[in-house]
């Protein structure tokens, strides 16, 4: 279980997230919606533990352990994995090197090839990571790295933005595998926190909880399909007005 209690986060001296409370139960996938600049990426980066995101208040617990102060590598080793919205180019470091790093002890040429084929990136293994990658290639490469890492807490930042209609199915399958197929119920259960604007990935994951992040606050909580429908209809403003958990009632009133 991931639990976030009364979390406030500042970036470069400016508070971006205010008093966030969030709880993702084992085996659950939650969805984050919200307008540009609302703080979604900031929340994911904070959960992953990047030092630029300073926790000014509150705590983050993973399986009851306070991990608020752990650096990203230790969180990765605990089972956290993130796909970046805009990952950096690392010159001279090949895609295959990244996969080997993610696979750690499990690294082998066969496994690297298998993942690359799965992500339709077989020709990319010798390329420098993210160098000259198209938007969609970056998304596939990020998910491929996570599939190598096999995280238990999967943090995905807009995995389907800018992806064409053919590739969206591939991306959807990869996400599904990350969150469900490669996570056998009896063995270990994955948790997910996914950012989406389009909601396309809802077709591939079994998510019953969604939130709208607005101005650095989790403005409302509800069924992600319903939130998406509301947002499509009346925009984000409405969600801000609604009370936590009451989006469905409000939705009925508007109708």
């Amino acid at each position: 279980m991931l639990e976030i209690r009364q979390l406030s986060v500042a970036v470069e001296g400016k508070e971006i997230l205010h008093d966030i409370n969030l709880r993702i139960g084992t085996g659950e996938t939650h969805i984050l919606f919200g307008p540009n600049g609302g703080g979604k990426t900031t929340l994911l980066m904070t959960i992953m533990g990047f030092p630029k995101y300073k926790v000014t208040q509150g705590k983050i617990f993973f399986k009851e352990r306070d991990i608020t102060k752990l650096p990203p590598d230790e969180r990765a080793r605990l089972g956290f994995g993130i796909s970046f919205q805009r990952p950096p180019v690392v010159r001279g470091v090949k895609t295959s090197d990244m996969l080997a790093a993610c696979l750690r002890k499990r690294a082998s040429e066969e496994e690297i090839d298998r993942l690359a084929v799965k992500a339709d990136l077989a020709d990319f293994l010798d390329r420098e990571i993210n160098y000259g990658f198209s938007g969609g290639e970056i998304k596939r490469s990020e998910l491929m790295q996570l599939m190598a890492q096999k995280p238990q807490l999967v943090l995905l930042d807009e995995p389907e933005s800018g992806v064409d209609l053919v590739n969206i199915a591939l991306i959807g399958d990869m996400i599904n595998e990350l969150l469900e197929k490669s996570c056998p119920i009896y063995d270990r259960k994955c948790m997910g926190l996914l950012i989406t604007h389009t909601g396309h990935i809802l077709d591939y994951v079994n998510a019953r909880t969604g939130y709208v992040m607005y101005d650095g606050r989790l403005a409302c909580e509800g069924d992600p399909h319903e939130i998406l429908a509301t947002v499509r209809e009346v925009g984000y403003e409405h969600c801000v007005r609604c009370q936590k958990g009451r989006i469905l009632d409000d939705w009925d009133k508007i109708k």
Binding site: P72, A76, F84, P88, D97, M98, A101
Partner: protein, 411 residues
């Protein structure tokens, strides 16, 4: 040396320049070095050299225990050639003194690419000539394995004066790996090395040079290459071990159409090392091309990384890439890429970047589970990885191994 008259002219020129400071780099006081050393015995089997010496040479890419993967070997200790042998037909490897005695045409090559009066270092090589290597590929012959040469500084405080001549005759292919190293890892010394390359029509030469000096040694190589029509000169330089002061600015002139010159340099400066290293390509014939790539890392030393491309003929093309990484405060990197074009329709470009490792990149790798140290090491390794097109696989592997062997000291 070569005909009394021309030799007298060279000597006169050299004498006139014996104290002429070089255009670049710290001025080395030649008087603080001795110029003679006891002769080292000739070794018919280089595997018989002491194990420690062989290990040092191996650090510089010269393997003596098994020379089956070499088409020739030349070893010089201090002033004297101690071994030279060939393993393949069509290749000549000998002491340059021997070549001067054997071939009366040597005057056509001797100080023809490098000017004897360029500075006091070239002048003093002429005045105190100690020998050097002569490597030649006969017309049409292609080496399967590289020729290896080692210049070894055994005696402390010695100034070693070396003059090398490399000739690739028409249509030949020659791969050379040269290692320079010292017996002592702390005594001072000076290495003055002149190398002149002549790459004839359609010939291909790859030259891989590994330097492994010590923190008290000063080094002034003086290298030039002349590349004829359709010729290729590919030069790789690796310097990852400490050295006190090293300055070199080799130049290659493309005199024939479609000649190609490529330079790759990997430089690491530890605290106390001062490097001023660059590469020059002068494109004087139609369609000539060049690519100059350098990677410089400082862990506390100073590096001036230069590059110069000059285009003087139609349809020439050149690119210069100069990247520097500062791993520790106190180190400095000064990148000076220069382009000079004299005609319309030439295509010269450069990119230069100097900086620290980007924190964002380190954190990206940390998010994949690498520790901060592992992430940094991975990025440094990536930075040092230069995929060299046109280098035989064997040499690529050896070069990569040499880089990896020194990486640990960098990190």
């Amino acid at each position: 040396m070569t005909g009394t008259k021309s030799s007298k002219i060279l000597k006169d020129k050299a004498r006139a320049s014996a104290n002429k400071p070089a255009a670049l780099g710290e001025d080395i006081d030649l008087k603080s070095y001795v110029s003679s050393a006891e002769e080292q015995p000739y070794q018919s089997d280089p595997a018989e050299l002491p194990a420690k010496t062989k290990a040092q040479m191996l650090d510089a890419g010269v393997m003596l225990d098994d020379i089956s993967q070499r088409s020739g070997t030349y070893i010089q200790m201090d002033n004297a050639p101690v071994h030279s042998s060939i393993k393949q037909e069509g290749i000549e490897v000998m002491a340059v003194s021997q070549a001067l005695a054997k071939y009366d045409w040597m005057a056509d090559y001797w100080w023809q690419a490098v000017a004897v009066d360029a500075d006091k270092y070239t002048a003093n090589v002429e005045l105190n000539q100690h020998d050097g290597y002569f490597i030649r590929a006969l017309p049409g012959y292609k080496t399967l394995f590289p020729v290896q040469a080692c210049l070894y500084l055994a005696k402390a405080e010695l100034a070693q004066h070396v003059h090398n001549i490399i000739i690739a005759e028409e249509g030949s292919e020659l791969h050379i790996i040269t290692g320079c190293t010292t017996a002592s890892k702390r005594e001072s010394g000076l290495h003055l090395g002149v190398s002149e390359f002549y790459i004839k029509k359609g010939a291909r030469v790859t030259f891989t040079m590994i330097h492994s000096w010590n923190p008290e040694v000063a080094v002034r190589p003086r290298t030039a290459a002349v590349v004829e029509e359709d010729g290729l000169f590919l030069s790789n330089y690796l310097l990852m071990k400490p050295v006190r002061s090293l300055q070199m600015y080799p130049a290659a002139e493309c005199v024939g159409e479609n000649a190609i010159v490529r330079y790759n340099s990997i430089l690491v400066a530890a605290a106390g090392s001062s490097l001023d290293v660059g590469s020059r390509a002068i494109l004087n014939a139609r369609g000539a091309r060049t690519e100059i790539v350098s990677r410089a890392i400082t862990t506390g030393g100073n590096i001036t990384a230069r590059g110069y491309i000059e285009g003087n003929a139609p349809e020439v093309k050149g690119h210069l890439e100069c990247r520097g990484l500062i791993l520790e405060d106190g180190g400095k990197i000064h990148a000076i890429p220069e382009l000079k074009g004299n005609l319309a329709g030439i295509d010269l470009s450069h990119e230069a970047a100097v900086g620290k490792i980007a924190e964002e990149e380190v954190e990206y790798l940390m998010a994949r589970g690498l520790s901060r140290e592992e992430a940094t090491a991975t990025i440094v390794r990536g930075f040092l990885r230069v995929d060299i097109e046109g280098l035989p696989p064997l040499l690529s592997t050896e070069l990569r191994r040499a880089v990896e062997a020194s990486e640990k000291e960098v990190m």
